[in-house]
């Protein structure tokens, strides 16, 4: 069940009320991220950073392998008189840095998509004709029927009390 709000401020206040009412499966939709909304919804900090750290470490290890492997073990070759012992390590830093950044960035992008369940080209919410404004100037709050506390009465009541307009029951198909 979805409702539309007039402004980010109204949506922000509504989110706090819905959170305090004890709903779990609900979401707000806005054309831009609203500052403080994570707290208003009772969400913690995104753990995407942990995935990116793993990606960065993988990149660093890849760089080490690709540099030390050939230069020290597979085909040691003295090029313009540079030694290939530990003294050569600073010359390996740029590629270590680049690959760490490269792998981290790819992880950040793809982990963001996976954690958001994207790409997902079909979603029941797109059946709501007002919802196309969620990427323009509309501010929406949607409580899912899967929510353990969900009853049509109660959801409608909380949405009405918080000033929601165009309260609509959105169907799966």
């Amino acid at each position: 069940m979805g409702a539309e709000y007039q402004s980010p401020a109204a949506l922000y206040e509504a989110a706090k009320r819905v959170r305090d009412a004890g709903f779990k499966r609900w979401d707000v939709h806005s054309p831009f991220p609203i500052h403080g909304m994570d707290d208003a919804m009772g969400l913690g900090k995104s753990w995407l950073s942990a995935a990116v750290l793993c990606g960065g470490i993988t990149g660093f290890i890849t760089a080490m392998t690709v540099e030390f492997g050939p230069s020290w073990f597979i085909y040691p070759l003295v090029v313009h008189g540079k030694p290939f012992d530990w003294r050569t390590v600073p010359a390996f830093f740029p590629i270590m840095f680049e690959l760490t950044v490269l792998f981290s960035a790819f992880t950040a992008f793809f982990a963001m998509l996976i954690m958001n369940g994207l790409p997902r080209w079909y979603h029941p919410i797109f059946n709501w004709e007002r919802f196309s404004r969620a990427t323009d100037d509309g501010f929406f709050l949607v409580i899912e029927a899967r929510d353990p506390r969900f009853t049509e009465m109660e959801a409608r009541e909380v949405l009405e009390q918080t000033g929601g307009q165009h309260i609509t029951l959105i169907h799966e198909d």
């Binding site: 402004s7 980010p8 401020a9 922000y12 979401d27 707000v28 939709h29 806005s30 054309p31 831009f32 991220p33 609203i34 500052h35 403080g36 909304m37 994570d38 208003a40 919804m41 969400l43 900090k45 995104s46 995407l48 950073s49 050939p70 230069s71 597979i74 085909y75 070759l77 090029v79 540079k82 010359a91 390996f92 740029p94 590629i95 840095f97 680049e98 690959l99 950044v101 490269l102 981290s104 960035a105 790819f106 950040a108 992008f109 963001m112 954690m115 958001n116 994207l118 790409p119 997902r120 080209w121 979603h123 797109f126 919802f131 196309s132 404004r133 969620a134 990427t135 323009d136 100037d137």
Partner: protein
């Protein structure tokens, strides 16, 4: 850049919106435009039919691009002999153009990443097009090292793979670092740009009425629905990408400068090169951003979004980086004299009075060192024609600077018997002109088919985007400190 009001004429209209703010600032979006206006205006550029001037300029630039590609084909099929470079000038326009284009890209990443981390909200109206410019500039840059190896089908030697003798590339060579740096830079820039595009592609998807457009925008928007549970991860990803791109952009031109600094040639063998190149890259890049945006904002009537304040701030960055570059020029001369090394001294004497003297006097001295000093004056920063003139000077000057460093360093080396000059051939010239065709064609396609301003980001800087907007009584510390994203 300072955030204090710079355009007093626009403060008057702002007073009401900033009543609850402790410090009044010049609004980043003028005339109190609302969310709907932003969507309409920016999507409108993409949705209306292409104007005639677009077709005329696109035909013109793509013809130039096509001729540039023909020159590349001619060079690949015939050999590098069709270029004017020869002993002693083994690197000439190819590497000059490479450094020139890769430097231009840097401004885009600076705007999108560094200014994001520094919470400079004014970046939101220019970051999308600046990032697009970065990508196109890096594409143009990547052409030159690719083809200057001569036998391009051997370019796979650059990859970390053993060749047919089992020998691996030299991981201690700055040229190989360059391969990694530029390819990483391009990949990360694409990811960063695309991450920013996803919400805006969803906007275009929801607005488009034509079925095929809706389908295509829908595919590329990945089904984005502006959910806050998604925004949470999205904002973290964007922040991390900005954090990764920040050291990356500083490293790329540093690595490019290592190509020169690790050699033993006078004028190349200097430790000042990495910061000097990075400052120069940002300097030249901002000039190119303004070169593209000043006409675009006039044509598409975006003066309320890309305001005089934005141009003023970019002009100040040009002044800052231009002064750093001028300092580096001066320091090179001082060190050449102070080192007491006769080759260094000669090389710098030759830079001013040698056969390429006018490149230095016009390119480095007038265009790069003197012309940006006009931006000390507010009148100059607010006069579009002065700004455009300085940007054009800087665009040209930065190309001359790279030419002076590369060819100027090579044409008179240690042995006078091997001295020579570089004279470009028509293939040299048209390959370079062709990359301008590629660059402008890609940029024209970009402004036709994608939103040139980040709609989802610019909406955040409107006062009503604040969740505490309109409730002046309970003053929230977060809103007061201006700690919103961007």
């Amino acid at each position: 850049m300072d955030a204090s009001p710079t355009a007093p004429d626009v403060i008057a209209g702002e007073a009401s919106a900033s009543v609850e703010r402790p410090l009044a600032r010049v609004p980043l979006v003028l005339n109190k435009r609302n969310f709907t206006w932003i969507t309409e205006r920016i999507s409108g550029v993409v949705e209306e039919t292409a104007p005639r001037w677009w077709w005329v300029s696109f035909t013109f630039t793509s013809l130039i691009a096509a001729f540039g590609l023909f020159c590349l084909g001619y060079q690949i099929s015939t050999g590098v002999g069709v270029w004017g470079l020869n002993h002693p000038v083994g690197w000439a326009w190819d590497i000059t153009n490479f450094v020139f284009w890769i430097g231009i890209g840097h401004a885009g990443t600076l705007i999108s990443a560094i200014l994001f981390l520094l919470r400079q909200k004014w970046r939101t109206s220019i970051n999308r097009s600046a990032e697009a410019m970065t990508l196109f500039a890096v594409i143009c840059a990547a052409i030159f090292p690719g083809v200057h190896v001569g036998r391009v089908w051997m370019a796979w030697y650059l990859a970390p793979l053993p060749n047919n003798y089992g020998i691996w590339p030299n991981f201690r060579s700055p040229l190989l670092w360059d391969v990694f740096a530029v390819s990483t830079y391009f990949s990360v820039s694409v990811l960063f740009w695309y991450t920013g595009l996803i919400p805006d592609l969803a906007t275009l998807r929801d607005r488009s009425t034509a079925k095929i457009k809706k389908f295509l925008f829908g595919i590329f928007a990945f089904g984005w629905r502006g959910s806050n549970r998604n925004w949470r991860h999205y904002e973290m990803a964007y922040l991390l990408l900005a954090g990764l791109a920040t050291p990356l952009v500083l490293s790329v031109h540093s690595v490019v400068s290592f190509d020169f600094a690790t050699s033993i040639l006078p004028t190349w063998h200097t430790t000042i090169f990495p910061p000097y190149f990075v400052a120069g890259a940002i300097f030249g890049g901002f000039a190119m951003v303004l070169t593209l945006l000043i006409p675009a904002r006039a044509i598409f009537k975006l003066q309320d979004v890309i305001t005089a304040q934005h141009i003023d701030k970019m002009a100040k960055i040009i002044l800052l980086t231009g002064s750093i570059v001028s300092y580096a020029y001066a320091m090179e001369f001082f060190v050449a004299w102070y080192s007491g090394n006769q080759y260094e001294k000669f090389a710098f004497f030759n830079r001013i009075f040698g056969p390429y003297w006018w490149y230095w006097w016009t390119g480095m001295l007038f265009c790069n060192a003197l012309s940006p000093q006009l931006f000390w004056f507010k009148w100059c920063r607010h006069n579009i024609f002065v700004v455009y003139f300085v940007c054009m000077c800087v665009n040209a000057g930065m190309w001359f600077e790279r030419f002076i460093i590369i060819v100027g360093g090579l044409h008179r080396d240690f042995l006078p018997s091997s001295w020579g000059l570089f004279i470009p051939t028509w293939v040299d010239i048209w390959t370079f002109v062709g990359t301008f065709g590629i660059f402008t064609s890609l940029f024209l396609l970009f402004i036709r088919y994608l939103p040139m301003i980040a709609m989802s980001e610019i909406k955040i800087v409107l006062p009503e985007a604040d969740p505490h907007y309109g409730t002046p009584q309970q003053h929230h510390p977060v809103a007061a400190g201006g700690k919103e994203r961007n």
